[in-house]
């Protein structure tokens, strides 16, 4: 019986947990990904024509190699030292500078690594009072934006290059004209920022030019938190949620792990409250009410799925329950209560869920939090504040931080002004309103009514004026600026390099518009700082820049606040008129994308290629819908969920589906996704996008991510760049002023067209093993029960005969055991799955640190993405309402690594400290190692991803037709082999983002996670230099942080010396929850995982006795065993069959499912 058959046979009862619906149904497409890691292409050159061409090319190459022998001498290289040595500069030694990445509501404090003058890596600033050193995916990827060849690189007038002086003249003219009329006719549209200096410049400008008009607009309404809190409490405040101190958390459509602007901070706090101390286990409980399946829903212990438009009704019901309790009933809340009761419930929500949740909140009064999300109307936020106030959370788990009030009109006001021709000059600061404004406003046409338009933008994008100026904006790594983080701490934004393309900052432009004498951003920021500390103080300023924050500048929270009950009551009454989606209506939820946000990261290849944590889509967005909704629409090409149709199709044609067989390409066999395109219509507007089923989404809801569907007009202006062009569809075209967050009453129709998506959800699949190990908190916390040791108890049985082998199931003495005795360190990693929230910060950090290339959508569909760190996502349980689990998958650094003994050239070997090394210069590309890797973590450079444009991957330097600028590529290649065939302007910039401590890999080379060996060796060298005669060469714990570990806001990853019992990693590994992946293979991985603990409430109607993954495992006849010997009675069944050895082995591999044969 071959492996595939055996696995199929065991899955007669279905899989344990699944990555996609095809996985659940075990479709042939899916099977392909299990059996072959790289299913298509480049496997064998069987086509005779291709073969002949290959021979021709090879002989040509050899010929040239011969001719070029004399050219094989290494070229003469120059060493160019300084003429005058700058102070404190040591070539080859990285420096770190404290700065901050500004966000719409604050900033992420960062430390930026600078290698020989160029920033190369972003880290969190862990000494900042409001940061634990975590960052998010955007902060990690923002460094690539700095070196984006398609950013605005010139001052442009009417789309043509112009010089800086002319631009400054134009600004001066606008300023003079405005001054003459006290500002009348000057209209300024800005994006959101929490920068004291920008506020100061705005106020100064408006004071000097009192008739100038200021507007602010953001496509994503993160400001609703401030607005609602200000309305609810009557002071200009924004809420600061201390999730670490809360025992019960209720989120109302609030994806604080994903789409909230403060997600980095909120994640770090939430994870802190979920950390399990093995001595005194305790963790918070999360209730989530949401429409889409978000990361917050995945982390939730109880999840209620319902349309976004119905969330405020559920919130009202819960609030009414709490306020009706005599214990929480207060006379001043009477009006709110009656409004809430009148508001009524959402149809079809189990009242048990409402009361269970309300009771839990009441039990934890003062120790719970209710948060509403940016995708909810103000009313939901006000209900949440009423709940927090009634439960006594204000001042405890919810603090109200004073913030400066936002000023200015809305985008609608600006359009009105434009249409009435009041606007002599329009200045646009940042943002991209022409792209992301509500579709009904028609801003683009209105802008033509403005006199002069001056726009400060990072790209020459949709908003870049066709008539007027586009001024290049400086990246935050090129700018002086400042920001206040969520707690109000003043934080500097300091540049690491001068603007590459002469970019300008918003504060400089504002100062110039006000005709200020001082307009250098450095001086402006220092002025603000001096104002804050009450006088100029050079030392304090230096300290501020060095530390990256001003100590004790956090705004003290307001302690005496009272809920404005009347306002809340009237808002709730108004909200009852909001439309709620009914049985046959559909709702569209617009959400900021996990990769491109509102579109601002559209041209960032790292982000575009990072799979969305939920859909696993790359390079596209899609129309997300639940299985039931897809079913209702009859989208039967959504293979998998409709068992009948699905199975029939596959059985008839023996693995081939007519629908998916398009001439020469058998899509189905290649594991490609070609879903049908659907059309959504609302308010006379229409968009089309491919349908994508997400199990667990609310029914009758379509989720569409914003930020896609942009054209790339390169080399002209007016769109996104060469990376992001033509990805996805533009959901802004459907979104109107009345439906900024969600639209109710959307019409949907099928188009019959198909569109290919690149989803990695089935890539790297390891099927049918207990990879995910989860338990409920109450069971786990009972130390006497078998469940306390659930993680090791779920170990899988060894294949027969293996038990008797010496050395933990190894047939031979592992040479590493001998080496380890003399090693200074033994490196290991522990990943706490209870802390991991699946946010992808680690994946981007790895990409940035390790020079991991992007490969493009076409290569992703072939499973050739290069990311060393992949975030596996599993569903378990009911297809309509499953649980979700995440697992970070990296090289496990097995002590007995299966990859090593199959390498014919010893390109992958072990060192004494336990690292599984990959030696690129020795690798010849046989790919045996990746074939033999049970974890599927090795990535192969099928093409020269680092040196070729993505649309030119299949070309070779030896192709005589491949000429660029009249020169044969081979000629150019011989002249300069380090330079790729990427255009010069792109190459020069993109080369700057690379980490000089990590080799850039070429075509034909295998690569994988190295535990950030460059950091390990760097730390060891530093320690050895320091140690001298003392002999203290052991690197202290905590010195080395891998890139993924350092980026993780949840502190889920620990790395260090496992021979040191006091190291953090050793302590984590000593916990009962620690387990090896695929333990039964006896690979002895150095990376281990700590099982996840869910904390459901037994009083809830959707209480699950055990997590779904555990239930599935148990349903297959497994039961918990003690301490790593997972074989039990069911394994014994095998012997009844009198099988041969091979057969038995197969049983072992399929995790003791032998009982089903």
């Amino acid at each position: 019986m071959n492996k595939s058959e055996s696995i199929k046979a065991t899955r007669a009862t279905g899989p344990k947990y699944w990555r996609s619906l095809d996985h659940l149904a075990d479709a042939p497409e899916f099977r392909k990904w299990v059996d072959h890691e790289f299913p298509s292409g480049a496997e064998a050159v069987t086509d005779p024509v291709t073969r002949r061409n290959f021979m021709k090319l090879m002989s040509a190459s050899f010929l040239f190699a011969g001719l070029g022998m004399s050219g094989c001498r290494r070229p003469e290289e120059k060493v160019i030292p300084f003429a005058r040595q700058p102070l404190d500069y040591v070539h080859g030694k990285a420096k770190y500078f404290a700065s901050a990445m500004p966000t719409r509501t604050g900033a992420i404090p960062v430390l930026v690594k600078q290698d020989d003058g160029r920033p190369t890596k972003i880290e969190g600033n862990d000494s900042h009072p409001d940061s634990n050193g975590g960052t998010n995916a955007f902060a990690q990827a923002s460094i690539l934006n700095l070196y984006d060849p398609d950013r605005a690189t010139r001052f442009a007038r009417n789309g043509d290059s112009a010089d800086r002086e002319a631009a400054l003249d134009a600004i001066r003219k606008v300023a003079d004209a405005a001054t003459a009329k006290r500002g009348r006719g000057l209209h300024i549209l800005a994006d959101h920022a929490e920068s004291p200096t920008r506020d100061r410049m705005r106020d100064r400008l408006l004071k000097q030019l009192p008739e100038a008009r200021w507007y602010e607009y953001e496509a994503i309404d993160h400001d609703v938190h401030r607005r609602a809190a200000t309305a609810a409490f009557g002071h200009s405040v924004k809420p600061y949620y201390k999730l670490d101190e809360a025992e019960v958390i209720l989120t109302l459509d609030c994806d604080f792990i994903g789409s909230e602007e403060e997600s980095t901070l909120l994640m770090s706090k939430f994870a802190k409250g979920r950390k399990i101390d093995p001595e005194h286990p305790k963790m918070s409980r999360l209730y989530s009410v949401e429409a889409l399946f978000t990361l917050t829903g995945a982390a939730a212990d109880h999840r209620l799925r319902l349309p976004a438009s119905a969330v405020h009704r559920v919130a009202a019901e819960i609030a009414a329950k709490v306020l009706s309790d005599p214990h929480f009933e207060k006379p001043e809340m009477a009006a709110v209560k009656s409004a809430l009761v009148a508001h009524g419930g959402a149809a079809g929500v189990d009242s048990g869920w409402i009361s269970g949740c309300a009771d839990d909140l009441k039990r934890h009064a003062g120790k719970c939090v209710v948060i509403a999300g940016q995708g909810q109307p103000e009313a939901t936020h006000l209900i949440a504040h009423a709940l927090n106030a009634a439960l006594g959370n204000i001042g405890k788990t919810v603090e109200l931080t004073p913030v400066p009030a936002r000023k200015g009109g809305s985008l609608g006001d600006l359009v009105t002004a434009l249409k009435s021709s009041e606007v002599d000059s329009l200045v646009i600061l940042g943002g991209n309103p022409a792209y992301d404004a509500p579709a009904d406003l028609d801003l683009v046409n209105a802008m033509e009514d403005a006199g002069e338009v001056i726009r400060l933008g990072y790209y020459e994008d949709e908003t870049a004026p066709k008539q007027g100026w586009n001024i290049p904006a400086a990246h935050y790594l090129e700018s002086w600026g400042d920001a206040r983080t969520a707690d109000g701490t003043l934080t500097p934004v300091q540049p690491l390099l001068a603007p590459l393309f002469g970019g300008m900052t918003q504060i400089e432009l504002l100062a110039r518009l006000a005709n200020d004498a001082v307009f250098a951003p450095y001086d402006l920021v220092q002025e603000t700082f001096s104002g804050e500390i009450g006088g100029r103080n050079e030392n304090a300023w230096k300290r501020f820049l060095h530390d990256g924050y001003l100590a004790d500048s956090a705004k003290p929270a307001l302690d005496r606040v009272r809920l404005m009950a009347d306002r809340v009551a009237s808002a709730v009454r108004a909200a009852s008129k909001l439309p709620v989606v009914g049985g046959n209506d559909y709702e569209v939820v617009f959400y900021p994308d996990s990769k491109v946000d509102d579109g601002r990261y559209n041209n960032n290849g790292w982000l575009q290629e990072t799979p969305d944590p939920i859909t696993k889509l790359t390079w596209d967005n899609a129309v997300l819908m639940s299985p039931a909704t897809a079913n209702k629409l009859g989208l039967d090409n959504m293979k998998g969920y409709r068992d009948g149709v699905h199975n029939k199709l596959y059985k008839e044609s023996d693995g081939e589906v007519a629908d998916f067989h398009d001439g020469e390409h058998n899509y189905a066999e290649r594991g490609e996704f070609h879903p049908e395109v659907v059309e959504l219509a609302f308010g006379g507007r229409k968009i089309q996008g491919p349908a994508w089923v997400v199990p667990g989404m609310a029914d009758n809801v379509f989720g569409v991510a914003l930020g896609y569907g942009r054209i790339c007009p390169y080399p002209n202006t007016g769109g996104t760049g060469r990376v992001g062009g033509e990805t996805g569809f533009n959901a802004y075209k459907l979104r109107g002023s009345d439906s900024l967050k969600h639209a109710v009453g959307v019409k949907v129709s099928r188009t019959g067209e198909k569109y290919q998506l690149a989803s990695t959800q089935e890539h790297g699949t390891i099927d049918g093993r207990s990879l995910i190990r989860e338990m409920n908190f109450d069971k786990f916390a009972d130390k006497d029960s078998e469940y306390a040791d659930f993680a090791k108890g779920m170990n899988m049985p060894h294949p027969p005969g293996m038990e008797e082998l010496p050395s933990h199931g190894l047939a031979y003495q592992n040479p590493l055991d001998e080496l380890r005795k003399n090693a200074t360190h033994s490196w290991g990693m522990a990943i706490d799955m209870n802390s991991c929230l699946g946010c992808n910060a680690c994946a981007l950090a790895c990409q940035s640190e390790n020079n991991v290339p992007i490969v493009g959508k076409d290569q992703v569909t072939r499973g050739r993405e290069m990311s060393w760190l992949r975030m596996d996502r599993y569903f378990s349980g009911d297809v309509n309402n499953p649980q979700m689990s995440h697992q970070v998958m990296v090289c496990q650094h097995c002590e007995a690594a299966p990859c090593e003994n199959v390498c014919p050239v010893n390109a992958t070997t072990h060192d004494d400290e336990g690292l599984n090394l990959m030696i690129y210069n020795r690798c010849v590309g046989t790919r045996y190692c990746s074939n033999n890797c049970p974890y599927k973590v090795r990535r192969f450079n099928y093409f020269d991803y680092n040196r070729r444009p993505l649309d030119d991957l299949y070309n070779t330097p030896a192709n005589p037709w491949n000429r660029k600028d009249g020169e044969w590529e081979l000629t150019r290649w011989v002249k300069d082999r380090s330079k790729g065939s990427i255009d010069d302007d792109q190459w020069d910039l993109l080369a700057l983002v690379r980490n000089p401590s990590v080799s850039v890999r070429m075509r034909g080379v295998m690569e994988k996670c190295t535990y950030c060996i460059q950091r390990i060796e760097g730390a060891k060298i530093a320690q050895k230099v320091k140690a001298g005669a003392s002999g203290n060469v052991e690197v202290p714990d905590g010195t080395i942080k891998t890139a993924c570990q350092q980026a993780c806001p949840a502190e889920a990853i620990a790395f260090g010396n496992i021979d040191d019992p006091e190291s953090r990693v050793s302590k984590l590994k000593a916990q009962a929850r620690d387990y090896d992946l695929l333990d039964y293979l006896a690979t002895r991985p150095r990376t281990t995982y700590l099982g996840r603990v869910r904390n459901p409430n037994p009083d809830m109607p959707d209480y699950r006795d055990t997590p779904e993954t555990f239930k599935e495992w148990k349903d297959h006849g497994n039961h918990l065993a003690h301490h790593g010997h997972g074989h039990g009675d069911d394994h014994g069944h095998d012997s009844d069959h009198g099988h041969d050895d091979d057969h038995g082995k197969e049983h072992g591999e399929t995790a003791g499912k032998g009982g089903h044969h």
Partner: protein, 222 residues
């Protein structure tokens, strides 16, 4: 017989002979090219823009290597000095010497001097100067007697075998840290006595300083 061997086999012996001849020629060319010190650049001595003599500065005048290569103990890279370092002395000494015209031009016009690099490792090798010189590996081990070179040349083959020779047996080469830049230093003029000293010192140093020069790939390749 024609049934057994088709006709084309008649030419086979000739083909084999020619084939072997070509193969032999290729091997000869390959060995004479790749297996010689020239391939590892031993003896490489390019002409430098300024005729700087290490013999005079480091040998006869006795300047310490680190007077110019200031960062060798701090970084993986041993810096070539900035022109300002030259001018520390040469604004007084030989201040009008025509051989130093380029140096003066560089200094006063802030135009760097473009030296030709001699010692270079492949990009996939991460050698670190600081950890070697601060722990007792002398410059001379890799660079030879630079203090006797009028013009610097590549003295040793920088092959992987060359590195491993020392990494596998550091005892034989470690010396007191204060003697690292003293290129002519020896334990004793008598080689036998010197060897005895070296053996004892090397053994103690490796033990006390916990020197574990790695011979695993991770030592240099990342």
């Amino acid at each position: 017989m024609s049934d057994v061997f088709p006709k084309w086999t008649n030419k086979l012996p000739l083909r084999i002979i020619i084939g072997l001849g070509v193969l032999g020629a290729a091997v000869t060319v390959g060995v004479s090219y790749y297996f010689t010190p020239k391939y590892t650049r031993v003896g490489y001595q390019p002409v430098q823009p300024v005729a700087f003599s290490h013999d005079i500065h480091a040998g006869q005048l006795g300047l310490d290597c680190r007077y110019c290569h200031t960062q060798v103990e701090k970084s993986w890279f041993s810096n070539v000095p900035a022109t300002s370092t030259c001018m520390n002395c040469h604004n007084q000494v030989l201040k009008d010497d025509p051989k130093l015209a380029l140096v003066r031009e560089s200094y006063y016009q802030s135009k760097p001097i473009e030296w030709v690099q001699i010692h270079k490792l492949p990009d996939y090798v991460y050698f670190n100067h600081s950890v070697h010189v601060t722990r007792g590996v002398s410059c001379v081990e890799c660079h030879g007697r630079v203090d006797q070179m009028d013009e610097v040349y590549h003295a040793k083959p920088f092959s992987m075998g060359f590195c491993l020779e020392c990494h596998r047996n550091p005892e034989a080469r470690l010396r007191p840290v204060d003697k690292v830049t003293d290129l002519k230093w020896k334990w004793n003029e008598d080689p036998k006595v010197a060897e005895q000293h070296q053996r004892e010192f090397g053994r103690d140093k490796v033990r006390d300083w916990k020197i574990k020069s790695s011979d695993h790939c991770s030592a240099c390749h990342r």
